[in-house]
């Protein structure tokens, strides 16, 4: 595993995984902005991730694209790369790198729980596991997302004169919330912030059931009474949200586990819906991967490193530049 450094760079063949700056060859795990950037020469990713990058950054955001199916092997010299579903968002992938019988897996962002908006996570046995740790503290035990979405549906039923604005990241979370609403038989039109439109259209085109949606427009205030509006978190606190009638501010995020955080951010209805693994899922993945060497990125590394060492696993944090707590999608 010495072939890859703490920046997820394989010097031998000049390949980066999720680089922050423009590089020659970049393997991209998924379309979130802290992983997929503009300006690489050659991007290797799933077809959906490439589509999403083009939607967000334009068709020319890289010089060359190589789409890979899940499970399809791609070799550069004596390195074999295979992408497997990560269950994080549409198109998200883990990267398996094989070299001289050593198997190394970079999970990227992943969740183990079920999600109709993307292919479900696949566990891969390996020697070295580079795992994310966004929710790497034992306080994070995600509840069933169906129960959380029911809270929203119930609140909409009770508060008929209010509109509910749900903060959700534009890519992935927004569409998952919409899909969860549909699973729970909420069949009304869902109203979305303009910045979500293209991505929602793409999810629809990919046959993901997010139901009927419409961009919010300058309609009469009372029109939005009783409606659900989905917007990126940054819009919640902005003047944008003031045009709606008595809005109840909701937020769909794993961070909503902590009530004090929700309160600080002025969230009235926190919905604990996460696209990352919780503590128990992280531990479970580490255990089942059979890896002896665990590297930990993204988030709350300390507790997870401590846990792994207690299990006699070799473990250390990888600090990847440009990513920090709570800014990641």
């Amino acid at each position: 595993m010495d072939f890859i450094n703490h920046q997820l760079f394989i010097k031998d063949i000049n390949v980066h995984i999720d680089p922050i700056l423009p590089k020659k060859t970049a393997i991209i795990t998924h379309g979130h902005a802290d992983h997929a950037r503009f300006g690489h020469d050659h991007v290797i990713a799933t077809r959906q991730t490439i589509d999403i990058m083009k939607i967000r950054y334009g068709d020319k955001c890289a010089k060359k694209f190589t789409p890979l199916r899940y499970g399809q092997k791609y070799s550069i010299k004596n390195y074999d790369f295979t992408l497997y579903p990560a269950g994080h968002i549409l198109g998200s992938a883990q990267v398996l790198i094989e070299k001289n019988n050593h198997r190394l897996v970079i999970t990227g962002d992943y969740k183990v729980g079920k999600d109709e908006t993307c292919k479900n996570f696949k566990l891969i046995k390996c020697d070295t596991l580079i795992t994310e740790a966004t929710f790497g503290l034992p306080i994070f035990q995600h509840p069933d997302p169906k129960d959380e979405i029911q809270k929203l549906i119930r609140s909409v039923k009770i508060n008929k004169n209010n509109c509910h604005i749900v903060g959700a990241y534009a890519l992935g979370k927004a569409q998952r919330v919409m899909n969860l609403l549909r699973q729970q038989k909420y069949n009304e039109t869902i109203y979305i912030h303009g910045s979500l439109e293209k991505l929602c259209q793409y999810y629809s085109k990919e046959k993901i059931n997010i139901g009927k949606f419409e961009k919010v427009s300058s309609k009469d205030k009372s029109f939005y009474e009783g409606k659900i509006i989905i917007a990126p978190p940054s819009a919640l606190k902005d003047r944008w949200s003031r045009r709606f009638p008595n809005p109840i501010i909701c937020m769909a995020s794993g961070w909503m586990t902590v009530k004090q955080r929700a309160k600080q951010q002025g969230i009235e209805l926190p919905l604990v819906i996460s696209d990352h693994s919780d503590w128990n899922e992280l531990l479970d993945t580490i255990k089942k991967s059979k890896a002896k060497n665990i590297l930990i990125t993204h988030g709350q590394e300390d507790a997870l490193v401590y846990y792994c060492k207690k299990q006699n696993l070799v473990s250390k944090p990888l600090s990847i530049q440009g990513r920090s707590d709570e800014e990641i999608e």
Partner: protein
């Protein structure tokens, strides 16, 4: 428990006062034993004898690795919430009534607490566990005051909140008499008034333009307004106790008053720090506040006394229906008989015109008084802040020009605007912050400032924006003290934005040295 627990959760997450009242009213529509426990908890009058924060820590260490707990606590920053989240989840939670749950917990023997109480925690859902731990650790901090609960109850059952206030301190769990009276089943509960804290009569701030036109100066008498804490002293032959404005018993923190005062009366006054009845400022008083006990050293270094304003009871006689002038006679009588030197009387200022009173307001006692209070001579002693009887008139504030440095979004109705402002003065070629204000500006000024901040941000630190240094704020404040906690070495009391100084260039703002000199800070 489920209902109470979701009440608490909704209260903590709701910024609006009206919504909070509505939530409380929905919950208190029924008045039963569960609501009685809830009322005791919400008014901070309930606690478990054996289960406190330290016991809870002990229990959680039995469940999870100590290091993992510490990492988590560090992240969450709230003990009750950390424990409730980290506690191993039991998929099948079993819900009980609030009252059944509490009574079952009370039955647990001390020797069996560790196993039995852990079992209780495991059987609860996450939110209910959070609620129970909050109850154990006390101090809910959910943004609901006792007063708000009373207001909600009063509105719901068509009573006045003052009526509830008046009997409140004589009520006890399980509040049967209160509940029956609210439901109109019995008349208002009779309370032994001699033994309880009596809600205080409070003054309204004066509106100089409106009020002086309609008020007759001859009907009022005035006193100096002191910057201490308002207290109620209850003296009888067998006990003396001291209460804060909110009815908390603070006797143990001021033994010198408790041990020496003699007589039979209920006194209303201001607690101040200083020797020989000369107050030495709020900064010194703070050394004596929020303490359970006061050492001999502390008593010597920061001696306290009470400046008495009023008297409510004298030798068992209720004086509250008498006029202020008559009550004053009784107060003087009490003082004559009280031979100790921990109490003095507030001086009465007689005046015949409002202009005359202005002089007293602004120039007196080398800055130590905050202004004046003036009271209707024939006013009864009425609880709360009744209009038309007592007024407070503060001195003109101190003013300083300072440069806007940082801004943060506000809360409540100002939540989407940048409305919390940090301002500073020069220290050589840099700026050093001297205070933070989130009030005083007009709605129009707020819009202008908000727009300026959005367009002129030079740096972001989490929610805080640093802005281009070009706006000068005229800041009004009540006082300023030396402080070791702030970089500038000063701490302001009640700073607010007076106006925006568009006319002044930033290099004319004072330096911190000049600022300290002007406001006499060493």
């Amino acid at each position: 428990m489920k209902k109470f627990s979701s009440l608490l959760l909704n209260l903590i997450l709701t910024p609006s006062r009206n919504t909070k009242i509505k939530l409380l009213q929905d919950y208190f529509k029924i008045l039963d034993i569960n609501r009685a426990y809830a009322l005791a908890i919400l008014s901070d009058q309930f606690s478990f004898q054996f289960i406190k924060a330290s016991k809870l820590r002990e229990l959680v260490y039995e469940q999870v690795d100590q290091h993992l707990f510490d990492y988590s606590y560090d992240y969450v920053g709230d003990l009750a919430e950390t424990i409730s989240l980290i506690w191993p989840t039991n998929k099948e939670s079993k819900s009980q009534n609030l009252s059944t749950l509490i009574e079952n917990i009370k039955k647990i023997k001390k020797s069996e607490i560790n196993t039995e109480f852990s079992k209780v925690l495991s059987e609860l859902s996450n939110n209910e566990r959070w609620t129970l731990i909050k109850i154990c650790t006390g101090g809910l901090r959910i943004g609901v005051s006792e007063r708000l609960v009373k207001t909600a109850l009063a509105d719901l059952y068509n009573k006045s909140v003052n009526e509830i206030e008046e009997i409140w301190h004589g009520l006890e769990f399980p509040y049967e008499n209160l509940f029956q009276w609210l439901k109109n089943e019995i008349s208002k509960p009779k309370i032994d008034f001699k033994k309880l804290f009596h809600p205080m009569m409070l003054a309204n701030p004066i509106d100089e333009e409106k009020d002086f036109k309609r008020l007759d100066a001859n009907e009022f008498q005035a006193e100096y307004k002191w910057d201490g804490i308002r207290v109620q002293l209850m003296v009888s032959s067998n006990s003396v106790s001291l209460y804060s404005r909110t009815g908390d018993n603070i006797s143990s923190a001021f033994p010198e008053i408790i041990e020496t005062t003699k007589g039979d009366a209920v006194i209303d006054g201001e607690l101040l720090v200083g020797g020989n009845f000369k107050p030495s400022g709020f900064n010194d008083l703070q050394q004596r506040l929020n303490r359970k006990k006061a050492s001999k050293d502390l008593q010597k270094k920061f001696p306290v006394f009470i400046r008495a304003y009023d008297i409510l009871f004298y030798k068992g006689k209720d004086l509250r229906k008498l006029s202020l002038v008559k009550r004053r006679k009784y107060l003087e009588k009490f003082q004559k008989e009280n031979t100790t030197n921990q109490i003095d009387l507030s001086t009465i200022i007689n005046f015949s015109t409002w202009e005359e009173l202005t002089k007293y307001k602004n120039n007196f006692y080398d800055d130590l008084n905050e202004g004046v209070m003036f009271k209707l001579k024939n006013s009864e002693y009425l609880p709360g802040r009744k209009k038309g009887y007592w007024y407070k008139w503060k001195k003109n504030p101190k003013l300083v020009d300072a440069i806007l440095m940082y801004a943060q979004r506000g809360h409540g109705k100002r939540s989407s605007y940048y409305s919390d402002f940090t301002f500073g003065v020069w220290k050589e070629n840099e700026l050093v912050p001297i205070g933070k204000a989130y009030s005083g500006y007009t709605d129009k000024e707020l819009l202008v400032l908000d727009k300026f901040i959005r367009n002129n941000t030079t740096n972001k630190f989490g929610p805080v924006r640093e802005v281009k240094k070009e706006i000068i704020l005229e800041v009004a404040f009540d006082d300023v003290f030396p402080s070791t906690r702030h970089k500038s070495g000063v701490a302001m009391r009640f700073p607010r934005i007076h106006r925006i100084r568009w006319d002044k260039p930033i290099n004319e703002v004072l330096s911190i040295k000049e600022f300290k000199k002007e406001f006499k800070i060493d």
